[in-house]
Symmetry: C2
Subunit: 432 residues, 2 copies
Amino acid sequence: MASTNPARGTRDFLPADIRKREYVIGIIKEVYESYGFEPLETPAFENLETLTGKYGEEGGQLMFKILKRGEKLDIANAKKVADLADLALRYDLTVPLARVVADKRDKLPKFFKRYQIQPVWRADRPARGRYREFYQCDVDSIGSTSPLVEAELISAAAEIFERLGFTDYVFRLNDRKRLSKMVSDAGIEASLETDAMVALDKLDKIGEEGVLNELQARGISREAAGRFLSFAKDPEAAPQSETIAKVVSLLRSSDRIKDDPSLARGLSYYTGMIIEVNVPDLPGSLAGGGRYDGLIGMFGKEQIPACGISLGLERILVVMDERGMFPPEVADSTPADVMVTVLDEETAAETIKLAAELRAAGLRVTVYPDADKLGKQLKYADSLKVPYVCVLGESELAEGKVTLKDLRTGEQESLERENAIKKLGAAIRWKA
Amino acid sequence: MASTNPARGTRDFLPADIRKREYVIGIIKEVYESYGFEPLETPAFENLETLTGKYGEEGGQLMFKILKRGEKLDIANAKKVADLADLALRYDLTVPLARVVADKRDKLPKFFKRYQIQPVWRADRPARGRYREFYQCDVDSIGSTSPLVEAELISAAAEIFERLGFTDYVFRLNDRKRLSKMVSDAGIEASLETDAMVALDKLDKIGEEGVLNELQARGISREAAGRFLSFAKDPEAAPQSETIAKVVSLLRSSDRIKDDPSLARGLSYYTGMIIEVNVPDLPGSLAGGGRYDGLIGMFGKEQIPACGISLGLERILVVMDERGMFPPEVADSTPADVMVTVLDEETAAETIKLAAELRAAGLRVTVYPDADKLGKQLKYADSLKVPYVCVLGESELAEGKVTLKDLRTGEQESLERENAIKKLGAAIRWKA
């Protein structure tokens, strides 16, 4: 007997979950569309070589790889993973985008502004709010180095958070070029720059002393490490970033923007501005991104500048759930506006006909499938929080009427069929 | 240098593709919701044991399996696939649904009516219209054996085809119980029933003579094979199906319904009615499904009846594309209603401000990111088929005006900023 659990770190989304997810995704799409971003989708898996070497140390280990098939699979002579796997599930939406842009440059506009809302997969250790399958909502601008790009991306993401009802989010901004200057100004060798970034990226998790220790463990002197950290802690002391200054000047209201030289971000492909969005009650970020002018060129066709932000759907949902931020029609959704009862097999065709007439009036209608006792049918409708029931019993059928029951008030009345339909149509339209 | 192709048998969906896909998916969701079906989503991969043994011969071979990770992966001592893989990408949406129902029965309504629109993966040989990643749009009713279920499923799917503009679709109906009777009435041994079904399923592909040969190759006498095929060809000669008779009587208009005893369907989990939807110009089907009262019980908790239909999104799109069935706003979509030009870095903040005002008026607005020559900016807008451009040049900024250009007519006028916004808002609302 097979287990009935979903695979470790993954989840089944029941209807009530999906309603919430679709509400958030709907707002994200609407805002991105209003900024002229267009939808793109890429396959769940990529050729292994497409993803290899794009994410730094950790990424390679956390990728889900797919077994070769048929004759290509030679278990007896396999020595390493690459002998056994030829595909991998996508790890983010940025590398697939870079591949698509390199592949289809001639079919895409000069400035390609795209959004993409799809799941990604990482074989991370599952924990509260950390899953092995999770959605990213990415928005990227391809083809321009103008700071207008960063300003527009930040502005669109901020509008999404506002529309969702967040009032305490902060965009932290830093610049990989400034981080490089912090490394050299601190007296750290250029060859240890990546080490310095990796250590700094852990500041939120391991604290200042932890970062200092890690910097030393990676071969950086305590003195240089101290200078590096003092820059990271103080935007005034750190070298200034021209990009950040330009972007901030373009944004009308900057009270949600913070210049933060301690922000490093884990992924290795960033080259300029880096961005993270935080709220006080969530460890980790609601969104992150940055400029990656070198990634598309790694596919060897043409060097094309790019910049993007990725919203973490799961984390946004966690915070919205905890704070009760969903509107009532999303939080308390029902599968139908009205249920039609069924009397027996002989009259079932009449039930179906009434349901069709109600649908034609714009109602969402479910039909009780079995010829159970009326009480049982009403109880079922009530358990689904369906507000109205149309009873088609013997007397109703004989008289050509229906009994319309309001399950919230318990009231019921016998109506001509067309009047019942009119009344329900009006009640539901009024609600919408 | 890595290849830039998507993996074999998979596709990147560019914005114009997505618009079409979302149009079809939107109608499918709207109709299913109007019948009281609720959305469900399941993970892309399942534990290998969940999927194993559910699909018959072919399914096991065509499943994409995922390599074990970390210490669990022991390449040196691996002998067979099960030593190397512990997960598999979902092969359809029905088995995951059955697992969810077995797992979460107490959280789901007694009659659970769900739809699910997600990709599935099969390592099939890619061919025209056959991909390794493709979407299924499933609708299923769990918990009732009533023929009302089949009638409602057929009626909802038919409404979708009508709404999409199909006028020549046919629902072919058969019944696995009747097929069993055809097998025994033809004098074929019960032990060869599956062989008889598998051979009959190939009728469309290999013709009558081919099926007769295959039946004989599988150990059925030429005589019995002939009788079996004569039943399959003639609904009058074949044993009658009570289920089909009941369902047909429940459907108001049955001119799109055909009783077809030759329909067999490949999957092994069907137990009652089987359904396929065809159009004349497509080999294969637009949709298929049936009743599977034994599948949920295979997860060993409880035997629960179920029935469903799966729409093949890719095939629906292929036919709609070939026939030009998309409305103009879908076929000729643009990324924005208006583009705002940018003069130079100093005035870029004004450009962003105007764009925000236009968005507040309900317009989809894109901003040209670089301070290129005006001609180049207009050419870009034209290449995207954006209908309007707001020019913010030196003179416009000095006068507090904008030049509004209609790219379709070439006309342009200088307007006060608020008048330009009003005019554009009205023009786009009129269109919508």
